[in-house]
C-alpha cells in the first residue's frame, strides 16, 4: 500500500505527462493544432527535458545545443540515405556520433563558467554550422539541406503520421521518466549542488567537473535523440538545425516554461511551437513582436516561468481552502 502510494507520488508528473501526450491527437485539433505539429512538440519535449538537466540542475547555460541536435539529424539522414531506411541503426549511430562530439566539446567548454561557457558553446555550434555549409557540403547538401531521403521505416512499419507521433510520444514519456529518476538520484543532487555552491561541493569530496561533464553529455544525448527523431518525422535536414537560432529557441522555451523544473521547459516547448505555428496565423506578421512581449513579461514578472505561475496559483487555491 505504502509502496503503491510512493510510486504514485514519485511518478505523478510522468503519468500526467503521459496522459496529456497520448491523448494529444484527440484534443489538439480542437485548439487549432494540426497533425504533425503534435509530433514536433513531443520531439522538442525530449530536447528541452534534456536541456534542463544541464541548465536547470547545474546552472550552465549552453548556447550551442543545436550542434548535437543538428549533428544527430545529419547523421540520421546520411544513414537513412546511404545505409538502410530502417531508423534503428540510423538513430543509434547518430546518437553515438553526437555523444562523442559532446564529450570533446564538454571537456573543452566546461573549463569555463558563466558567460564564457555560453560563448564557447555558441562558437562550437557555429563551427559545425559553417562546416555543414562548406567543408562537408558533399554530405550535408550545404545550403539546400539534405534531401531525397527515403521514407523512414521501423522494420516493416512506415514511419509516417500517427506512427511517428506515438513513437515520439513514447520516447518522450520514457525519457522524461529517466530525467525524473536522475533528479531523485544522488547524481541529481550533486548536479543541483553545482548550481548552489561549487566550492563547497569540491570541499565536500565531490569531483564537480565530472558531474558537470555528465550533465552536459546527458543533455546532449537527449538533444541527439530529438534531432534524430526530427528526421524520422520529416525526412529532410536543413542547416538551420545546427544554427544559433535553434540553440536560442531552446533557451527561450526553457525560460518561458520554468528552468529547473523539468516539466516547465516541456510546457515552454509546447507553448512556443503552438504559438509559432498556430497563433502566428491569427496574429499576422506581428506574432514575433507579441512573442517578444510575452517573453519579457515572463522574465520580469515571473522569473520562474509558467511553473512559477502554477505554483502561485496552487498556493492561492490551497490558502483559500484552508482559510475557509
Amino acid at each position: 500500500m505504502n509502496q503503491q502510494a510512493s510510486f504514485w507520488q514519485h511518478n505523478r508528473m510522468v503519468l500526467m505527462f503521459a496522459a496529456v501526450a497520448l491523448t494529444m491527437p484527440l484534443w489538439f485539433p480542437f485548439i487549432g493544432g494540426y497533425s504533425g505539429l503534435d509530433t514536433k512538440i513531443m520531439i522538442f519535449c525530449i530536447f528541452l527535458v534534456g536541456f534542463d538537466i544541464l541548465l536547470g540542475f547545474t546552472g550552465y547555460l549552453s548556447f550551442g545545443h543545436a550542434a548535437f541536435f543538428g549533428i544527430s539529424a545529419y547523421v540520421t539522414g546520411i544513414m537513412l540515405k546511404g545505409y538502410s531506411d530502417n531508423i534503428l541503426p540510423a538513430m543509434f549511430v547518430a546518437v553515438i556520433a553526437a555523444t562523442l562530439v559532446a564529450v570533446v566539446i564538454g571537456l573543452l567548454t566546461l573549463k569555463r563558467t558563466g558567460i564564457y561557457f555560453s560563448i564557447l558553446t555558441l562558437a562550437f555550434a557555429e563551427m559545425f554550422d559553417s562546416m555543414a555549409m562548406a567543408m562537408l557540403q558533399e554530405w550535408t547538401g550545404g545550403e539546400n539541406g539534405l534531401t531525397g531521403l527515403p521514407t523512414p521505416m521501423l522494420f516493416d512499419l512506415k514511419m509516417q503520421g500517427a506512427t511517428v507521433f506515438y513513437f515520439s510520444a513514447f520516447m518522450a514519456i520514457g525519457l522524461f521518466y529517466v530525467a525524473k529518476r536522475i533528479e531523485r538520484s544522488p547524481v541529481g543532487l550533486m548536479m543541483k549542488a553545482i548550481k548552489c555552491n561549487q566550492t563547497r561541493l569540491e570541499y565536500t569530496g565531490i569531483n564537480a567537473r565530472k558531474y558537470k561533464l555528465l550533465a552536459f553529455i546527458i543533455s546532449a544525448v537527449y538533444a541527439a535523440i530529438a534531432g534524430s527523431l526530427m528526421v524520422v518525422y520529416e525526412p529532410f535536414v536543413g542547416h538551420e538545425f545546427l544554427g544559433w537560432h535553434q540553440s536560442g529557441e531552446v533557451v527561450i522555451m526553457s525560460v518561458i516554461g520554468g528552468v529547473g523544473t523539468l516539466v516547465g521547459p516541456m510546457i515552454g516547448a509546447g507553448f512556443m511551437l503552438y504559438f509559432e505555428n498556430v497563433l502566428s496565423v491569427n496574429l499576422g506578421e506581428q506574432w514575433l513582436l507579441v512573442l517578444g512581449l510575452i517573453f519579457m513579461a515572463v522574465v520580469v514578472f515571473m522569473p520562474g516561468g509558467f511553473m512559477e505561475a502554477v505554483e502561485r496559483l496552487k498556493k492561492r487555491i490551497f490558502t483559500t481552502i484552508d482559510g475557509e
Partner: protein
C-alpha cells in the same frame, strides 16, 4: 603521532613572501590553534592544506600521504574538511539535502554513476544525515532552505556538512568571526563537544576562543612560525607580544 606534517613550506605572491619555511607538526587528536596578526599567512596555510594554493616549495604529509598536487575533493576524501570564515553551504537546498551530499560522498567517493538509484537504496544514508542534523541541534530545520537559516545555524549546518563524512582533520578558518558573544560561546561548546578523535586546526583572532579550546598554539608572523607551545607558554612569550604589539611596547 603527527597526523599532519608540514615541512619547509614556502609560498610567495609576487614579491610578497606569504609563507617562509613553515614547519609544523599537528598531533593526532589535539586542537591546534594558529594565531598571528593580520596578513601573517594563517589563511594561506589553510588554503595550502586544502589544495587551493600550491606552495613553491616544501611538502605536506597527511597520515603518511602527500597532500600537494592533490585535488581539493581528493583531499577531502582523505579525511580533511574545512569550515570557512563565512559559512559555506548550499543555500538553495534544504538542510537535509545539504547534509546528504557529504554522506553520499563518503559512500560513493568523488564520482559515481548511480544516476538511476532510487530512494530505497538512499534511505539508510538519508537517515544517517538526519541523525547528524539532530546531533548538531538543527532537527527543527530539517526541511528549511539552508539560505534562510540564521548565521549561527548556518555555521552549525556547515559543521554538520563537514562532520558527516567523518573527517579525521577539521580545519577551521575563524569560526567565530563576526559572531555575537552568545553565538561564540555556543560555537566553543560545539567544538568542545566534538568527537575527541578528530584533530582540529583552528585559525582564530578571538583569544578567548583560542585559550578555551587549544591544546597547542603556533604563532605566525610575516609568513614564519615565531613561537609554538602550550597556551600558558604562549601567553607570556616575548616574541608573541612583540609581533602583536610592536617592538616599542616591549
Amino acid at each position: 603521532m603527527a597526523i599532519l606534517d608540514i615541512h619547509q613550506v614556502s609560498l610567495s605572491f609576487g614579491g610578497l613572501k606569504a609563507l617562509q619555511n613553515v614547519h609544523l607538526k599537528i598531533e593526532q587528536g589535539t586542537t591546534h590553534a594558529l594565531i598571528g596578526p593580520n596578513g601573517a599567512g594563517k589563511s594561506t596555510l589553510l588554503n595550502v592544506l586544502t589544495g587551493m594554493l600550491k606552495p613553491d616549495d616544501g611538502s605536506v604529509m597527511f597520515d603518511g600521504k602527500p597532500l600537494l598536487d592533490v585535488n581539493s575533493f581528493d583531499i577531502n576524501q582523505l579525511g580533511i574538511a574545512k569550515v570557512f570564515q563565512t559559512p559555506s553551504i548550499f543555500p538553495e537546498m534544504t538542510v537535509l539535502q545539504n547534509v546528504t551530499i557529504p554522506v553520499f560522498a563518503a559512500r560513493d567517493g568523488s564520482f559515481c554513476l548511480n544516476m538511476l538509484q532510487g530512494r530505497r537504496k538512499q534511505r539508510p544514508l538519508i537517515e544517517f544525515a538526519q541523525e547528524q542534523i539532530c546531533e548538531l541541534g538543527l532537527e527543527n530545520h530539517m526541511y528549511t532552505l539552508a539560505g534562510s537559516l540564521s548565521r549561527g545555524d548556518k555555521r552549525r549546518l556547515e559543521m554538520a556538512i563537514c562532520l558527516a563524512n567523518k573527517p579525521r582533520l577539521l580545519l577551521l578558518d575563524e569560526p567565530t568571526a563576526g559572531m555575537a558573544r552568545h553565538e561564540t560561546e555556543k560555537t566553543i561548546e560545539l567544538l568542545r563537544g566534538l568527537n575527541g578523535n578528530i584533530t582540529k586546526v583552528i585559525v582564530e583572532h578571538d583569544m578567548n576562543v583560542v585559550f578555551s579550546l587549544a591544546d597547542k598554539i603556533s604563532v605566525l608572523s610575516q609568513g614564519q612560525i615565531i613561537a609554538e607551545g602550550s597556551p600558558d607558554e604562549i601567553k607570556g612569550h616575548p616574541k608573541v607580544i612583540e609581533a602583536y604589539l610592536g617592538e616599542a611596547q616591549v
